[in-house]
Symmetry: C2
Subunit: 461 residues, 2 copies
């Protein structure tokens, strides 16, 4: 793969030189050979004066494609510099769902100007899509799809495709509707091409359509794409009338966003929707400080438990040295279980009704892990601490307390780790938010209680 990133610096230099030397024809030739996503990525490194110069060199079609790929700040800057004619030209070339995405990001006065210069049909459609909730299938769809009637022959169908195909985001799948726009079936362009000329659309279409509703959550929609290997998915209203389609490239974007959000939630951050380096310091701080504060306060409970056992600790100070190892191992064991379950939940591999299978599995894994870790730790304490380092405080009873605690801590950590995400989802909370950050707090507190119980029992303190 000749990676664009490898040529990036070189290209940037060339472009900047061409601008300085006013070699616009050359620059245009260079640009038309590049992919829109790559041009957009270069724009991020050009100055505010250079961007409009380069943008105006692009042919209409590619210009719109580049525009879509830009960061909202650059889009706004360009729109503010556009003449009304230029704005209209770009708007005419945009696919509807992309236009909606842009409108959603712009400040009110820019939106007003965009809507003023969009043609009436587009304006109506944009306003319609804007009505859907932010995370819904409706907000993600485009209303530019190819619909066929069931009585059409192949000749009629291809006539329509040739007439309307230019405007549509995809013609790879066409949709068959009746007069009331009810969705009757789908038919791929391949099926149409391979059909006999005399066939009607009804004869070749697939009437078993998987569709989503305008109000379905976009994460569920993306999951359907990966399940059924679709390249486009019809969106219907509550009366099964076809209102739009979602294409696979938008579904992929949703998958990536949702994955990033899951990572952020598990790492105790509020989700942000901007790339890492584009997020300001204050914004990042705002996303991170709430959970840090909550978890800091909840960790004081662990501190209270520790204080509670102060006298036991001062009677046998060596116990203190093993606390980080015990709570750390507990936290790691719990996180392993919770992350495995959270991921399985988001891939639809597991649901709440599987909770007993999940717990039964985790408990057996926990037993195996606990015994291994306890055994390894016992051996290490006896061989290294006791015999090699002659640490008189590390006795067989102390090692027994530590290792028994370890077995139980791992056991409870895995139990909490696997059950909490399932319960959270059942109760309507986000499993990723509820589970990971809290698990270490819960496990820390549990570990200490178990530890000092065993110490009281076996060491008599």
């Amino acid at each position: 793969m000749i990676d664009f990133e490898d040529r990036r610096d070189e290209l940037l230099e060339q472009i900047e030189e061409m601008i300085v030397r006013k070699q616009y024809a050359h620059l245009r030739d260079l640009l038309v050979e590049m992919k829109p996503a790559d041009i957009a990525s270069l724009f991020e490194d050009l100055s505010e004066e250079q961007v409009p110069i380069v943008f105006r060199l692009l042919p209409k079609g590619p210009a719109a494609e580049v525009f879509v790929e830009l960061e909202p700040e650059s889009q706004e800057m360009l729109i503010r510099g556009f003449s009304n004619t230029e704005l209209k030209e770009v708007l005419d070339e945009l696919y509807l769902d992309d236009a909606v995405d842009i409108v959603e990001e712009m400040p009110a006065n820019v939106v007003k100007r965009i809507l003023k210069h969009a043609d009436p049909d587009t304006r109506k459609s944009i306003n319609e899509i804007l009505k859907y909730p932010e995370d819904s299938a409706g907000s993600l769809m485009t209303t530019e799809f190819l619909d066929l009637k069931r009585t059409m022959t192949m000749e009629d169908a291809f006539k329509r495709i040739r007439r309307q195909g230019e405007e549509m985001e995809t013609i790879n799948v066409c949709y068959v509707t009746d007069e009331q726009r009810h969705l009757l079936g789908i038919v791929s362009i391949r099926t149409l091409l391979l059909a006999d000329e005399g066939d009607t659309v009804e004869e070749v279409m697939d009437p078993n359509v998987v569709s989503v509703n305008t109000l379905d959550d976009k994460e569920d929609v993306a999951q359907q794409f990966s399940r059924y290997d679709f390249i486009a998915m019809p969106v219907v209203d509550t009366e099964n009338r076809l209102v739009g389609i979602i294409t696979v490239d938008d579904a992929i974007d949703v998958m990536e966003e949702e994955t990033t959000e899951d990572f952020e939630k598990m790492a105790a951050m509020l989700p942000s929707d901007k790339p890492y380096l584009k997020t300001g310091v204050l914004e990042t701080w705002k996303a991170r400080i709430p959970w840090l504060l909550i978890l800091m306060l909840s960790a004081t409970f662990t501190g209270i438990i520790l204080s509670h056992y102060e006298s036991a600790l001062s009677a046998c100070l060596i116990l203190n040295a093993f606390i980080p190892m015990l709570t750390g191992t507990g936290g790691n064991s719990g996180t392993q279980a919770s992350v495995a379950v959270i991921r399985a939940l988001s891939l639809d591999e597991v649901e709440f009704s599987d909770i007993f299978r999940v717990i039964w599995k985790e408990l057996r894994v926990a037993l195996l892990c606990g015994v291994c870790l306890g055994g390894a730790n016992f051996a290490k304490m006896m061989l290294i601490d006791c015999m090699l380092l002659h640490n008189a405080a590390v006795t067989v009873p102390v090692a027994t307390v530590v290792c028994l605690t370890l077995v139980f801590v791992v056991f409870f950590a895995k139990l909490v780790g696997c059950a909490l995400p399932l319960l959270a989802q059942r109760l309507g909370f986000d499993p990723a938010v509820m589970a990971s950050p809290f698990i270490s707090t819960i496990v820390d507190a549990l570990s200490l209680v178990i530890y000092f119980r065993f110490a009281a029992l076996l060491l008599g303190i």
Copy 2:
């Protein structure tokens, strides 16, 4: 969306009843209305005797599609039950890349049987694809693509598409090659349909092709799909000869696998490639125990540091109560930074050369977070511990030590958290593996050293 999962139990019951009553025609009618992925999912809940019965009712095309979606265990079971004719029929219907996936999962004797009954061309192609390394673009591609010659007219092109289209995994994009199979350009079926009849392929094709090499890593390939919004991507050998294509559905599978792996690595597990509930207890244990052992041993360093300050601790036991809060907050702060950077790395938003920008950003965020947390904690210690609970041990100097430590811990945790993944990647390690599990160990140790330094300085112990 009428979710399949909601109807699952009902369908399963219906199918089982129809089998018992031998209502095979009804069952067949029910099945042809369902999507292959859904049928495959039901198969997982049918008994070993029922699966072949239902499978044999499916028409040839859907049968192959269902077969592809099954778990390897079910595939093997079915193949072992197939007659030679049945095996050949399924093999003929499979797309080549799916056949390769299946062959990769089967034991040697089954593979032998499959290759024996595949037609010679397919056998040759399967063997060719099997030669590519497991994570390469080559292993992911199919060799069934539509290639056109540049001198073809639209009429020639459509003739070829109609003749060969049935066999191909996709005809939405066609590839233009010369006699030596060098890739000259791509052309979408839409472009072909909208072109004038007299146009030649060369006139309408896009000669600026983004392609990947057979040996490119499949994760990078998937990244290109999301960057360029492709639905298929050509794969070329080192001499730019077209050898295959990768379709977007396979790229989505790779994205999901890689995301799962990243989650697993960050949670200190070895990656597994099976769904959660399909992985056995021993297998899960094997994936989890190595990191638990390593991290348990590395946590003993924290213990050693604690032991080292034993006398300081016994002089001021109240200090102990704040250790879980300090190490916990440090761990959380570090994880936030590391997860943000790891995710940005895997989305190509950040690279090693950005390290100073990343550090500069994180340090400012750290300062804000640290000051907030320190302030909040100071207020809490003074108002609650000191004034409300009358804990005489919590004095202004003690609170100062704890809160100053907090500021520094957050500062260093963010620094380590953001720098470690970047350094890991630079050194050729996996950032997700290196970073998350180690960060808490490093931060724990750092926190304690800083804490006792401040205690010595301000409390004179």
